[in-house]
């Protein structure tokens, strides 16, 4: 028995097994080529009947905590790239069924989130204790989301069904965080000051995702967001999503210790 299960034999059998799995074998290049060609800087955005024209999506690039290193040409290419794959990735044709929740990660207690997260998890005094707390990775330090149910001073947000969702994660000091937003026309993005720190106010349904230095997307939700206040405090990036207007959201943000 032990002879039969010797490690080299097991390893050999696994290598062999790996050569006989039913891997997909589609060439991705043709499909990608079309998308990549569509974003070639010299290509006219008006060629073809692409969804981008129908959606007339506008790309807004926001920076948190640093300057973008990409050249203007690359930035333009990225912007065009997102008008296609961004829509494709972030706004699927069949949205997830209701009741699946907000995909915020694992439900944990506030204490557990504080213990596990690699940063100081803060709580805005104005909102009181959260009704639910979630912990997710990546990033490795954790992405902590707190949910407050709708109540008289926190009207329900259409996009989440909650009163407020506060998400926080640590922006590592050696990293620049780049926040990209794919916004439909009519969405307002305004730079704001939160307690003296710079932030952004995004009003109207939009999708948000965040790229870290090494290209790992730490937020990639296939849903739209409500009114969002984004700001950074003590190396931690916070994102408050609610139905509150800007003064209301700022009032909440100011009560973060």
């Amino acid at each position: 028995m032990s002879d039969r299960l010797a490690t080299p034999q097991l390893e050999r059998a696994l290598f062999d097994l790996g050569r006989h799995l039913a891997y997909p074998d589609t060439d991705l290049v043709p499909g990608m080529a079309e998308q990549l060609t569509a974003i070639r800087p010299s290509a006219s955005p008006r060629t073809g009947s692409r969804r981008v024209l129908v959606l007339a999506a506008a790309i807004l690039t926001l920076l948190v905590g640093g300057a973008m290193v990409a050249s203007p040409a690359l930035r333009a290419a990225i912007a065009r790239l997102f008008t296609l794959p961004g829509v494709r990735i972030e706004v699927p044709a069949s949205p997830p069924p209701a009741g699946r929740g907000l995909d915020l990660g694992e439900r944990v207690s506030l204490e557990e989130a504080r213990r596990v997260a690699g940063f100081a998890v803060t709580l805005p005094a104005a909102l009181g204790q959260p009704d639910e707390v979630y912990l997710d990775t990546p990033p490795s330090d954790g992405l902590v989301s707190m949910v407050w149910r709708a109540r008289p001073d926190l009207p329900e947000t259409t996009e989440t069904g909650a009163g407020a969702v506060l998400t926080q994660f640590r922006a590592r000091p050696d990293e620049e965080f780049m926040v990209k937003k794919l916004a439909a026309e009519g969405v307002e993005v305004a730079p704001v000051l939160v307690d003296g720190a710079s932030g952004y106010w995004i009003e109207g349904p939009h999708t948000v995702f965040v790229v870290t230095e090494d290209g790992i997307f730490i937020e990639d939700r296939a849903r739209t967001a409500g009114n969002t206040l984004l700001w950074s405090r003590g190396g931690v990036t916070l994102r408050l999503e609610s139905a509150l207007d800007l003064p209301g959201a700022l009032a909440v943000a100011r009560t973060v210790p």
């Binding site: 028995m1 039969r4 299960l5 490690t7 034999q9 097991l10 390893e11 050999r12 059998a13 696994l14 290598f15 062999d16 097994l17 790996g18 006989h20 799995l21 039913a22 891997y23 997909p24 074998d25 589609t26 060439d27 991705l28 290049v29 499909g31 990608m32 080529a33 998308q35 990549l36 060609t37 974003i39 070639r40 800087p41 973008m68 290193v69 990409a70 050249s71 040409a73 690359l74 930035r75 290419a77 990225i78 790239l81 997102f82 794959p85 990735i89 997830p96 699946r100 995909d103 990546p138 490795s140 780049m178 790229v211 870290t212 230095e213 090494d214 290209g215 790992i216 997307f217 990639d220």
Partner: protein, 194 residues
């Protein structure tokens, strides 16, 4: 796999060109790494169509993030890290836990075994795969990276964002648990007399 279009440029050169807007250079990177990317996505999601979507999305994200790619770093483990995160995100959305499957294609490696020998070999693979599929996700994933895809421990460390020693110990534990499952099932891993 299909034949790759030849390019004498190495990955860092292609990355540099792609970064400057050379779409062809990025296509060559896709061509070179798509096989592994799709396979890595498949062993995480266990779903063929999802694996293709994941790989494609990962390439697009990599393209987007090229401006942030550290010059001189290896492209492949960086790409694999994006694939893994994308695949895990996708799996998170899926309630199911699909099992990996064997290909129906005939084995052309290892000479030309008799139909009987080939049938026996496939049966052994089927039993071993059943054991692998019974493992917890993390074990299955790490064994798949190392053995099914033959990714080095060093590259695995980078793609999984853990220390090389952690890969080694997790791998050893996963092998141990697989060994236990196999032992319980009494599966013969190799043909008698080998």
């Amino acid at each position: 796999m299909r034949e790759l279009k030849g390019s004498s440029l190495d990955d860092p050169e292609l990355v540099e060109r792609a970064r400057r807007g050379d779409v062809g250079a990025f296509e060559e990177l896709v061509r070179r790494h798509q096989g592994l990317a799709v396979r890595a996505a498949y062993v995480v999601t266990g779903h063929r169509a999802d694996a293709e979507d994941v790989a494609q999305a990962a390439f697009l994200k990599a393209y987007l993030a090229l401006g942030r790619f550290r010059a001189g770093a290896a492209f492949r483990p960086w790409l694999l890290r994006i694939v893994r995160n994308e695949a895990k995100n996708r799996r998170r959305w899926a309630a199911r836990h699909p099992e990996l499957e064997l290909t129906e294609a005939h084995d052309r490696s290892g000479g030309a075994p008799s139909p009987e020998e080939e049938a026996e070999a496939m049966e052994r693979r089927r039993l071993l795969l059943a054991a692998v599929n019974r493992l917890r996700r993390g074990d299955r994933e790490i064994l798949a990276y190392r053995y099914f895809l033959d990714i080095s421990e060093a590259d695995m460390a980078e793609m999984m964002e853990v220390a090389p020693g952690t890969v080694k110990s997790r791998l050893a534990r996963a092998l141990e648990r697989l060994r236990a499952v196999v032992a319980r099932s009494g599966t013969e891993l190799e043909a008698a007399g080998e």
